[in-house]
Every structure is written in structure tokens, then in C-alpha cells.
């Protein structure tokens, strides 16, 4: 038990209003998505579908160099091209617009276009606005930039000792080390002294990215009459940090209205878009016309600020009597050219640093470095997916070295169900769980014993079949403390602690509900989920509910999807808002029925007497009365006209870290769990891998929509397969990104994923969230890589091949096999 947790009865801190129920009307049903009809008929209205009157188009000249000083820029020929409206260099933009937002401390300054220096291939240098995108790109070709090439820093280990001209941000000191952190949680020395085995591994997790099918875009429209900016963007956190774009534009926050559009996928990459709105805003203000900029795929792959964790681990695991006790690791993380989230990804990973296991101590020695690559952003897992890989690889290594059983070893090490809520050494809390139940369900679905027999038979035929198991976590519902608690203690930066989600609900005079969300659709199912929860709350027909999205002018506090938080948070907000709506309906209904509200209840869309249910009024009748017959009711200040409510739901359970950060507090307590079991066959001649079977069992607490959850699991697993086997943003020694196209950066196609990925569910409701829901948006990607790595290693056990590095491409696998066969 940590210092902060001592004496705390966490269950008493629960703000849960609606516990899990035996039966539901709408929650738990695989309701078809309400988002789909317009998407299926080509009427989604994504960012690039928006055309404003008199709109001009921007293109951006990008750096061909990884690291260079901009000596001079000649834009004369571009400016002279007919149809060109504006040419703006980074230095010109910086005269009117400040740096973009960052969570890093000390800040790592980034502008929407490079000023003085470029720091990665693809970084924007000059923007052109023209009558069409074609003309803007023509003009780009007419710009001459004179660069003084600087040393390119590519290798993360070499980056630690960079100095002089090789330093990306000299204002942060003569080093490319962005931040170091040494943290110890629990009795690490004691655990290692008492260990009977110490397992050592070096692991490499390579750089990949979310790469949604739609790139990022923004359209800015500056009105010089009012001084107001309207910016359309496929961003997510606009009601959380959108105002920081106004700060960059040097305007008051209320002079910027951000209108969200639906996003054609994000997976985290569109969470915190700041560069494009800032750039288009700057251009629109300068040229007096609405300006659209859409990234093309090259822009997106080289410079969208969305590459993900790029880590080298050197780890040791202490084991005593077949039980894991302590884990210590050195980790170097290559953050690329800027540092927008600081080491938030490592903060995140501390939420589930022991996974599902009773490990009593953790020691982390972190070095975050800056290199001449696209900067890191968010991608499905936000660092915890790598922690899962580390833990499961270390568990598999222990199993291997001890000759233990992969199922029984895990089971023996699990935190047992009776110990929840459970505080882990870092200070975070696990709310609930039954890990053995998940493991058993996966083994049953897969027919684990049956596959072991088939594997033995295959091996006799000389075939390389392997079974991989990953039992790991999906923390859900982030708290903002993760962004800063690993920052230097004397310079923690902006120590925000809020991560709310609001909602507005209005019942119109005909009894239909309009729900306004404060965060956009980005491929998840916010409209469906909100419809199901509100229908449950107000006993309404889902067809009578419609969903809307706020802009920042009308917006309440909201944080948006990310960290598998949205379903939990919007359910909390809706429970709060609908409690107010219900109260109003009962009060108005009480006057209509001449009954006390306490004698009334809401059943099947009617306000009726508890003991005489046939005596009642429909929501539509009550709503009409509430909207238009004020004088028929008493002069009660609570009986204002209409039926509407807003509610901002704050994080269900979060606490502060302590001063010396030996205890990070509770920050990610809604703990999902999963077991992935995968069977692969490796062709030793070609290194090609085939999936023979794949089972994923997840526990996301109470399920709101099993169909969409399954969609997340299958889709997330596919992206996890990409991470495990195919994807890698590959920079050469000069810092050139060699695979910046979909022809070369290999996201999985249909033939790369299992034909039938079978899913199962266990439900251990959270005691802290409404209905006991936990998040589930990232899980697939958080479980697949370690399960697949384990399966490959198991398949090649006769050769003694170890899988320490991702992606396990056929080429790498062939090299490992060749090496094993030669030795």
C-alpha cells in the first residue's frame, strides 16, 4: 500500500449513481449504429467535403533535409505566378503567430512553419495560398530555399551524447536529451536481493503510427469585421485545449470558434491537432479569405506529429518461487524533433506498470531523446501498449528460463479477484477484475489443450506451429496528471488535473431528445453510445433521440475520446443530465397529474403513478406542457419553461501524486483486461507467418454495445498485427524517411489478418463508473503484439529463436532462423 493510499477506503469515494443492473432495455444490446446511414451513403461531411464561399487553398513546401539552417528563401517567382494569393515563410508567420501548444516542460518550441531551422524531413517551411490546390502546388515548386545542412541525429543512443550543431533545440541546453526520469516504486532492491532468478532481456519497439485513412485538414475563416476566427477541423480535443490555438494566434480565446467535423479515423493521431488550425488561421488572417489546407499522404506520414513510441529497453525481472516480484528497466525513447506531450506516454504506462500481476516493485530509468524525425504523438495505447509488450515478453522469458507453464505461471502471478480495489506500487488503483476468468474463457474458446496437441503433431511433421498468450491490461479513463507528473519536480509545467466530459440534453416540445456532445466522432460510436445510455435513462425509444456536436462557442467542458475514456465519461455526463431531466419531467408531470413527484416514475416513455401505471402522461405531453404552459403551473423557480439540462462529469476517481513522486496517485483506475491467444505457423524457408487461430477475450466491465466493442477488438488487433509484423517508419542514416507512402509503409491488408478473429467477454463492472462500464477502444492493439511475439517464439522453439524486436518482418525472421540454424 502506498503512502497516499494508506487508510483510504476507495469504495467510499465512488460517485457511481447507477449501479450495474440485472436487465437493461438498451445498454448491453448490439444496436446498429446511428452514425452509419449517412456514412454509408457518402454523406459524412468530412473536413475536405466542406467548401466555404470564396475559399482559397494552401500547400506547404516541406523540408528535404532532416536538419538544416534556413539561410534564405526566395519566393519572388512563386508570388508572381497568376492565381497565387499569398506566400508566407515560417519567419513571416512567426511575426504574427506564436508557437503552437505543448505539454512539455521546459517547453520545446514548435511553430506551425519552421523558423530559422528545419528539424525533420517534411517539416513545413513556406506556405502558399492560391485559387486552387493545383496552383498552390505549382507555386511551391517555384520557391528556392538555401539551406545549410546540419548533422542529422537519427540513432537514439547516439542522440544522448549529441552536442553543438547536432543539437535540435539549443535553447533547452547543449543536449538532445529532452528529459530523464528515475523512479522507484516499492522495495526494488529487496525484491532483487531475494530473487531466486533474475531474467534479463533487451527489447526494441519500433516507430509506427496511427495512419488513419483520412489525413488532417483545417479550414480557417477570419472575419476582419469582428476579429473572429472560425476554424473547421477534424480535431478531437477542441473543447479541452482548443483555446491554446487562440493563444498561438495571439487573440483572446473567445475570438476563436472551432467547429469540429467528423474524422475519418484517428487512433489518437488527431487528438491534439494544433499545427494546421494555427497555420490556416494565420494564412486566412493574412489574405482575408477562408483558407483550406488538407495534408496529402506524404504530409501526413512525414510530419503529422503522430508517430508513436520508439523505445529501446534493457530490463530485469526478479522472480522468487515462480512469482514475479520486481521489474526494473532502462528505457530510451526517441521522441523525434519536438516534444508536444512530454513523456506523457511513460506517465500513462505507470498506470499499469505491473500488468495483472502481483509485482511489488518497479524501477524505471528513462531517457527521452530528440532526433531529426517526425515528433511523437498519440496512438492507441499511448505508451501502455509498449509496457504490455515489455511485461509479457519478460513473463514469457521467465517461463522459458524456468521451464514453467505459460498458462499456470500467469495464473499464479495474477492479482486475485478478492484483492480489489488494488493499489499497485506506482500508486495507481485497479478498480476490479477477474483475470483468471478471462484466461480460462480464452483457453476454452481457443481449445488451448487441443491446439497444444495439434502443435505437437505438427512439430513431428517438421512444421513450426506456435501458441502465444498475452494476459494484459487496458487502463481506461485517463486523468490529466499523467501528462506532467514525470516532468522535473522543480519545473512540472502546467499541472492540470481536470479531464471532464460534458453533455447538453434538450427535450423538444414534441418529446424528442437532442443530445449535444462536446467531442467529435472519430470512428468510434459516440452517437450510438449516447443514444443507448439516454434511452436507458429516460426510457425513451432510441429513434426519438438525435445527436449533435457543439462548437467551442457553445461548448461545455469536454476532453474527447482518447485513453479509452469516452464511453465511460459520456455515460457519466448523461447520467447526470438525465437525472435533472427526469426530475423536471416528474415535477411538471406531477402538476399535470395532480400528484406528488415522489409518487411518480418514468416508465416506457411515460410519467405515471407508481401504483396506477395506466394513469400517466407521455414525455411528449409533459414536454409540450413544460415548454408552452408556464401559467398553468405554480410560481416555482424550478419550473422555468422547457426541459433541458447540461452536466459536466469529472473523472470518476483521481488523486494527486505526492511531492517526491514516489507515489503517482490514482490516475487511471478503470482497469480493463484482456487475454489474447494466437496460433501461428512460420515457414522457416521464407519467414512468412500464417495465423491458424486467434482468440481475444476482453473485460471492459459492463458492455454498452457488444457489437461495436467487438469491432474495436477486431480492428485494434489488426493494427496490433501491423505493429507486430509489418509497420515501421524507417529513417536512414541521413534522416530520410524511406517509406513515406502506403506502398512502402505496410498497414495490414485483408490477407495480413486472421480470417476469423473470435472474441469473448467477461464482465467485471467497475464500482466507480456509471453502470460499471470500462473503456475498450484501444485493447486490441495493446494485446496483439506480445501475443504474436510469444507465438512466433513458441513456433521456433526447436531452433531457440528469441523475438526481442518488432516488427517481426519476414526478413527479420529469416535472419533469426538463419542465425539459429548456423549456430
Amino acid at each position: 500500500m502506498t503512502e497516499l493510499a494508506q487508510g483510504k477506503d476507495f469504495l467510499k469515494m465512488s460517485r457511481q449513481q447507477e449501479g450495474p443492473r440485472e436487465t437493461y432495455s438498451w445498454i448491453g444490446k448490439s444496436m446498429k449504429r446511428v452514425e452509419d446511414p449517412r456514412l454509408l451513403t457518402g454523406q459524412g461531411r468530412y473536413i475536405d467535403d466542406i467548401q466555404l464561399p470564396n475559399m482559397a487553398h494552401a500547400a506547404v513546401l516541406r523540408s528535404p533535409h532532416a536538419h538544416a539552417r534556413i539561410k534564405s528563401i526566395d519566393t519572388a517567382k512563386a508570388k508572381a505566378l497568376p492565381g497565387v494569393i499569398l506566400v508566407m515563410t515560417g519567419a513571416e508567420a512567426a511575426q504574427v503567430t506564436g508557437p503552437t501548444a505543448t505539454f512539455s516542460s521546459p517547453p520545446c518550441i514548435q511553430y506551425c512553419l519552421a523558423v530559422d531551422k528545419v528539424r525533420n524531413v517534411g517539416e513545413g517551411v513556406v506556405a502558399v495560398v492560391a485559387e486552387s490546390r493545383y496552383l498552390a502546388e505549382d507555386a511551391i515548386d517555384l520557391i528556392d530555399v538555401d539551406y545549410e545542412v546540419l548533422p542529422a541525429v537519427v540513432d537514439p543512443v547516439e542522440a544522448i551524447t549529441s552536442s553543438g550543431d547536432a543539437v535540435l533545440h539549443p535553447e533547452r541546453g547543449d543536449t538532445n536529451v529532452a528529459l530523464t526520469n528515475h523512479s522507484v516504486f516499492g522495495p526494488i532492491e529487496e525484491d532483487f536481493q531475494n530473487a531466486d532468478h533474475i531474467i534479463r532481456r533487451k527489447l526494441r519497439w519500433s516507430r509506427v503510427g496511427g495512419t488513419p485513412m483520412e489525413t488532417v485538414g483545417a479550414i480557417a475563416d477570419y472575419d476582419s469585421g469582428t476579429g473572429k476566427f472560425t476554424i473547421y477541423c477534424n480535431t478531437s480535443m477542441y473543447n479541452y485545449v482548443g483555446w491554446l490555438i487562440a493563444v498561438s494566434l495571439n487573440i483572446p480565446a473567445h475570438k476563436l470558434n472551432i467547429i469540429p467535423t467528423i474524422a475519418g479515423g484517428s487512433f489518437g493521431s488527431k487528438l491534439f491537432i494544433h499545427k494546421l488550425p494555427t497555420l490556416t488561421g494565420t494564412l486566412s488572417r493574412a489574405c482575408g479569405r477562408p483558407v483550406k489546407f488538407m495534408e496529402d499522404r506524404l504530409d501526413n506520414l512525414t510530419n503529422c506529429d503522430h508517430h508513436a513510441c520508439d523505445r529501446i529497453y534493457d530490463a530485469e525481472l526478479a522472480v522468487k518461487d515462480g512469482r514475479m516480484t520486481g521489474l526494473r528497466f532502462k528505457v530510451i525513447d526517441d521522441y523525434g524533433a519536438y516534444f508536444q506531450f512530454g513523456v506523457g506516454h511513460h506517465g500513462n504506462a505507470m498506470s499499469q506498470a505491473v500488468g495483472p500481476y502481483k509485482i511489488s516493485s518497479i524501477e524505471m530509468d528513462l531517457i527521452a531523446v530528440l532526433t531529426n524525425k517526425c515528433q511523437q504523438g498519440a496512438y492507441r495505447g499511448f505508451g501502455s501498449e509498449v509496457m504490455n509488450f515489455l511485461l509479457e515478453r519478460m513473463a514469457d522469458a521467465a517461463i522459458d528460463e524456468l521451464g514453467d507453464d505459460p498458462v499456470e505461471f500467469r495464473r499464479r502471478n495474477f492479482i486475485p479477484p478478492e484483492e480489489f480495489p488494488y493499489v499497485i506500487p506506482t500508486g495507481n488503483l485497479y478498480d476490479s477484475g477477474d483475470y483468471a476468468a478471462v484466461l480460462d474463457e480464452a483457453a476454452r474458446l481457443l481449445d488451448y489443450q487441443g491446439w497444444r496437441k495439434k502443435q505437437a503433431a505438427a512439430r513431428e511433421e517438421g512444421r513450426y506451429v506456435g501458441i502465444g498468450i498475452a494476459t494484459c491490461h487496458e487502463r481506461s479513463v485517463f486523468s490529466a496528471t499523467e501528462f506532467w507528473f514525470l516532468n522535473p519536480k522543480d519545473q512540472p509545467g502546467f499541472t492540470l488535473t481536470s479531464s471532464p466530459e460534458g453533455v447538453a440534453v434538450k427535450i423538444d416540445p414534441t418529446g424528442k431528445a437532442l443530445v449535444t456532445l462536446q467531442a467529435p466522432f472519430w470512428g468510434n460510436s459516440p452517437e450510438t453510445i449516447a443514444t443507448q445510455v439516454l434511452a436507458e435513462q429516460l426510457t425513451m425509444d432510441p429513434a426519438d433521440i438525435s445527436i449533435n456536436y457543439s462548437d467551442t462557442d457553445s461548448g461545455l467542458n469536454g476532453t474527447g475520446p482518447g485513453g479509452s475514456r469516452y464511453t465511460v465519461m459520456i455515460a457519466g455526463a448523461l447520467a447526470g443530465a438525465s437525472a435533472k431531466i427526469k426530475e423536471k419531467l416528474l415535477k411538471v408531470g406531477g402538476h399535470m397529474l395532480e400528484a406528488s413527484p415522489s409518487d411518480l416514475e418514468l416508465v416506457d416513455g411515460r410519467v405515471c403513478l407508481k401504483d396506477v401505471p395506466e394513469h400517466g402522461k407521455t414525455i411528449a405531453e409533459v414536454a409540450l406542457h413544460a415548454h408552452y404552459f408556464r401559467l398553468s403551473m405554480p410560481d416555482d423557480p424550478e419550473l422555468t419553461s422547457g426541459v433541458d439540462a447540461t452536466y459536466v462529469y469529472d473523472h470518476p476517481l483521481t488523486t494527486m501524486p505526492n511531492e517526491d513522486r514516489t507515489d503517482l496517485g490514482v490516475f487511471y483506475p478503470i482497469m480493463g483486461h484482456m487475454c489474447h491467444m494466437v496460433v501461428v505457423e512460420v515457414d522457416p524457408e521464407t519467414g512468412k507467418l500464417a495465423f491458424l487461430d486467434y482468440v481475444a477475450v476482453h473485460d471492459c466491465g459492463t458492455m454498452v454495445n457488444p457489437m461495436t466493442l467487438q469491432g474495436h477488438i477486431r480492428g485494434g488487433t489488426a493494427s496490433g498485427i501491423g505493429t507486430a509484423l509489418y509497420e515501421h517508419f524507417f529513417y536512414d542514416e541521413n534522416g530520410q524517411l524511406l517509406n513515406a507512402s502506403f506502398a512502402d509503409y505496410l498497414i495490414p491488408g485483408l490477407h495480413e489478418v486472421p480470417d476469423d478473429l473470435r472474441t469473448g467477454h467477461v464482465e467485471t463492472p467497475s464500482p466507480f463508473t456509471e453502470y460499471g462500464i470500462k473503456g475498450g477502444g484501444e485493447g486490441g492493439r495493446m494485446g496483439a503484439p506480445p501475443a504474436i511475439a510469444g507465438a512466433v517464439e513458441d513456433a521456433l522453439r526447436p531452433l531457440g529463436v528469441k523475438v526481442d524486436e518488432l516488427p517481426i518482418s519476414s526478413k527479420r525472421l529469416r535472419a533469426l532462423i538463419r542465425e539459429a540454424q548456423n549456430s
Partner: protein, 166 residues
């Protein structure tokens, strides 16, 4: 072959979703941009602009084509079909219904191209095997679904369409 007018544009005549259009276009204008900008048919999405992902698929004289790799002028005299030619919200095409039913989409961005690949398949082969469906769909990328539900949706639609035609 039509000749360029004085502004460098080329006159073209083509049919899109059964409607005849006559337009003058720059020779370099991509079909995807022509559909989206000149005809306001924004259901055709652009994913990679280098012909890999299939998001921008349209049916060109009955065959799928990457509209990001074709110039509009190449479509003079052609018959094109885009996502807007399938069903409407009130009366969906069986494939659209099946994608809805089987959760064959999440963000919806790849969906128009995916649906047109499926239309092409089912018009040529009303009773495809699962392997044939997988082969047909494998020309398109989807980053959300992991493909399985898409394959199941096409299977489901094929079955329903056959039942309806019997």
C-alpha cells in the same frame, strides 16, 4: 479527342450516376478532384493519392478504378458510378444495409470505395465464395475494422440479394 479551348481546358462529356455532364477541365485535373469539386460528389474520398488504398474507387464503365490515378479528361465518353449511385438513407442498397447490419464500418472513410469494390464483385459473381470475397476486398485498405466484418457483410448481402432475386 477533344481539343483544348483557349483557357487550356478540355471539353469532356460523360455520364455520372446516370446523369449526363458536359464540362471543361484542366488536362491535369484528377478524376477524384473533378468528381468532388466540379460535380460536388463528395462521397468519393481520397485516402493516399497514390493508388494504393482504394478509398477513392469508382466504377468506370463497370470496373473499379482508382479515381486518384485517372485524369478527368480520360473519362470523356465514359460512364461512371460513385457511392451516390447506390441507395439512399431511406432505401439503401443491400450492400449498404449489410454493412450497417454487420458493423462493416467504423470511421466510414474507406467505406464508399469498399462498397464499390463489393458492387463490382457481386455484379460479376452473384454467388461468391468467402475466398472470392476476400480476394475482391483485399484491394482496399481499412484501418478501423480489421476487415472481417466487411467480408461478412458482403457475404450477407450476396445471400440476401440472391434470395430477393429468386
Amino acid at each position: 479527342m477533344a481539343t483544348a479551348s483557349s483557357n487550356g481546358r478540355i471539353p469532356i462529356a460523360l455520364k455520372v450516376n446516370g446523369v449526363a455532364y458536359e464540362r471543361e477541365v484542366e488536362p491535369r485535373k484528377l478524376l477524384s478532384d473533378f468528381l468532388r469539386e466540379d460535380l460536388a460528389l463528395t462521397g468519393t474520398h481520397v485516402g493516399c493519392e497514390h493508388g494504393v488504398c482504394g478509398t477513392c474507387n469508382v466504377l468506370l464503365n463497370g470496373e473499379t478504378a482508382r479515381s486518384c490515378l485517372i485524369f478527368a479528361v480520360q473519362c470523356d465518353g465514359a460512364e461512371l458510378r460513385t457511392i451516390e449511385s447506390l441507395g439512399t438513407i431511406d432505401k439503401m442498397h443491400p450492400l449498404q444495409e449489410a454493412f450497417w447490419e454487420k458493423h462493416g464500418l467504423q470511421c466510414g472513410f474507406c467505406t464508399p470505395g469498399m462498397l464499390l469494390s463489393a458492387v463490382e464483385l457481386l455484379e460479376k459473381n452473384a454467388d461468391p465464395s468467402r475466398e472470392e470475397i476476400r480476394e475482391a476486398i483485399s484491394s482496399n485498405f481499412c484501418r478501423c475494422t480489421g476487415y472481417q466484418n466487411i467480408v461478412e457483410a458482403v457475404e450477407f448481402a450476396a445471400k440476401r440479394m440472391q434470395e430477393a432475386s429468386q
